[in-house]
């Protein structure tokens, strides 16, 4: 079975919010109706977003590290938001594993948002239905698009290629290889929700140099040579 998902590389995410704006632009103009913006030019702008980039500081100054953390629906393989929905509006697509809300069936009871530990669902204050990341279902299932364009808007927008997209059930896909070889992990694994989206950890490229590498120890014979020298030519004299 196919399970489409995103793999987000925290190592290269620079926190530019391009995924946030491209997501909003694509999905607010799409078939599912607008995503509300309230007070967009006033003091407290608020609205519906499928994707948000948050920032965390790890460590204590001066030994700190800034982690930019894009967060959207993780399209769990055991989605806890789906069984609690009283109308069946919240569902997981059987063919590609994307978790979706049928906006025509949703009654806006917010129960699914209580059942999501990640805060991935937001009630739209204008349409009064629950909204969430669709993985750009209208793009990725549109067979008229080229392969390059058949990807979520956030993936296409990311300038650092921090967002990988693919089938995490296919062991040879780009995302599966990235998860396997680069330590991909899931958020809040303690709840057993089995998120399909994975995150790649921060990695530092460190070069370890031992003192032996700095001191010239070209000639291994010198270490092992037990001969007592009395001024005659040695192998070193010959070698240079």
């Amino acid at each position: 079975m196919t399970q489409l998902a995103l793999v987000i590389d925290l190592n290269v995410c620079v926190g530019c919010h391009a995924c946030v704006t491209s997501c909003k632009e694509w999905n607010t103009s799409g078939w599912a109706g607008p995503m509300v913006d309230q007070n967009p030019y006033d003091g407290s702008p608020t609205g519906t977003f499928f994707n948000r980039v948050q920032t965390f500081e790890v460590g204590v100054f001066p030994n700190t590290e800034t982690v930019h953390f894009p967060k959207s629906c993780l399209h769990c393989e055991e989605p806890p938001c789906v069984p609690v929905c009283p109308t069946g509006a919240s569902h997981k697509r059987a063919d590609n594993g994307v978790v979706l809300v049928d906006y025509d069936k949703c009654i806006g009871c917010k129960y699914c948002s209580w059942a999501c530990p990640y805060g991935a669902r937001e009630l739209d204050e204008q349409e009064k239905v629950m909204k969430k990341c669709t993985l750009c279902i209208d793009r990725i299932t549109d067979a008229t698009l080229s392969d390059r364009d058949r990807q979520p808007a956030c993936v296409l927008a990311c300038p650092t290629s921090a967002r990988l997209y693919g089938d995490v059930h296919d062991p040879d896909s780009e995302v599966s290889v990235a998860i396997r070889e680069r330590g991909g992990y899931q958020l809040m694994p303690e709840w057993g929700t089995k998120p399909a989206n994975h995150y790649l950890p921060r990695q530092k490229n460190r070069m370890y140099i031992s003192p032996e590498e700095l001191t010239r120890v070209d000639n291994p014979l010198r270490k092992e040579d037990l001969t007592t020298y009395t001024g005659e030519e040695t192998l070193d004299d010959v070698a240079w």
């Binding site: 790890v58 982690v67 609690v84 929905c85 509006a89 530990p117 958020l187």
Partner: protein, 325 residues
Amino acid sequence: MHPAFSVIFLTTLLGAGQGLFLAMFTGQLYALARFLPTQEDQFYAIGSLVALLLLVIGLGASFFHLGRPERAWRSAAMWRTSWLSREVIILPILMALVFAYSVAHLMHWTQPWFRIGESLGVDATLLVGLLGTIASFALFVSTAMIYASVKFLEEWHSTFTVANFTLLGLASGFMLAAAYSAYIGNPLVPFFGTWAVVLTLAAFVSRGAHLMRNARLKHKSSVQTAIGVRHTAVVQKAQGAMGGSFNTREFFHGRSPATVRFIRNTFLVLVFPIPILLIVAAYAIESTTLPILAFVVQYLGLIAERWYFFAEAKHPQNLYYQSIS
């Protein structure tokens, strides 16, 4: 969690309505067993009509919780998996049964249909009352399980939630039955009052145990598991929005810890000791107004109790919304 008054009124009014109906039927059973003087049919009929009124107002309050109330009919669909769906199905069934119970008494449909043994004549009111009792308890369980089944809200994910909803609903219902009996000057005040006190004490034990459990609760998730970074010092610096979001409005009550503590202490006083003392005093001085006051005080306390129930629960998604910037 943000305490929504729609849900606070829904759960407390349904609880009192179910409790009042169960009190009426209990009164009828005791009278049948000749432990109590038999009442006129009108007593049960009006009592269960009041219970029905509470259920209707509670149902009405629930609509204010919905973004799209006109689609509420859809919510009966997923009864196989969703406790909310189950509640939506059981509530109208109970309302129909309570209404039928009331009508059966009003119309004096008390001719036994058949007899069990010598003395027990089973009539329409008894059968409908029995079905209503089953539906009432099913509704208590469904309502409470809506909250208790969400494993992420660890404060709610407990048997205590079901016990509290049931016992507090029964206590307030029997308290209302005592108030109703006192209002019409009927001799059943001590009977309903005693049951109300017993149920209030039982609810106190259950609610107190729940509070103690939650005070010692250790949450499964931390900011470390939330973003998957293993370090003792992880602090949020931005949540991706400046003006708040659904996540900050729905999952935070926005009150100070002192306010929350005040509400808790308020409900601990209003729900348990004061109504019990009022009922005892009413018994001692044979007052017909104190039981009414007891119910009103306890119901106000239950609103505070339900408010605290929501405010106490900490959702793991809050880990992602600790700091605006």
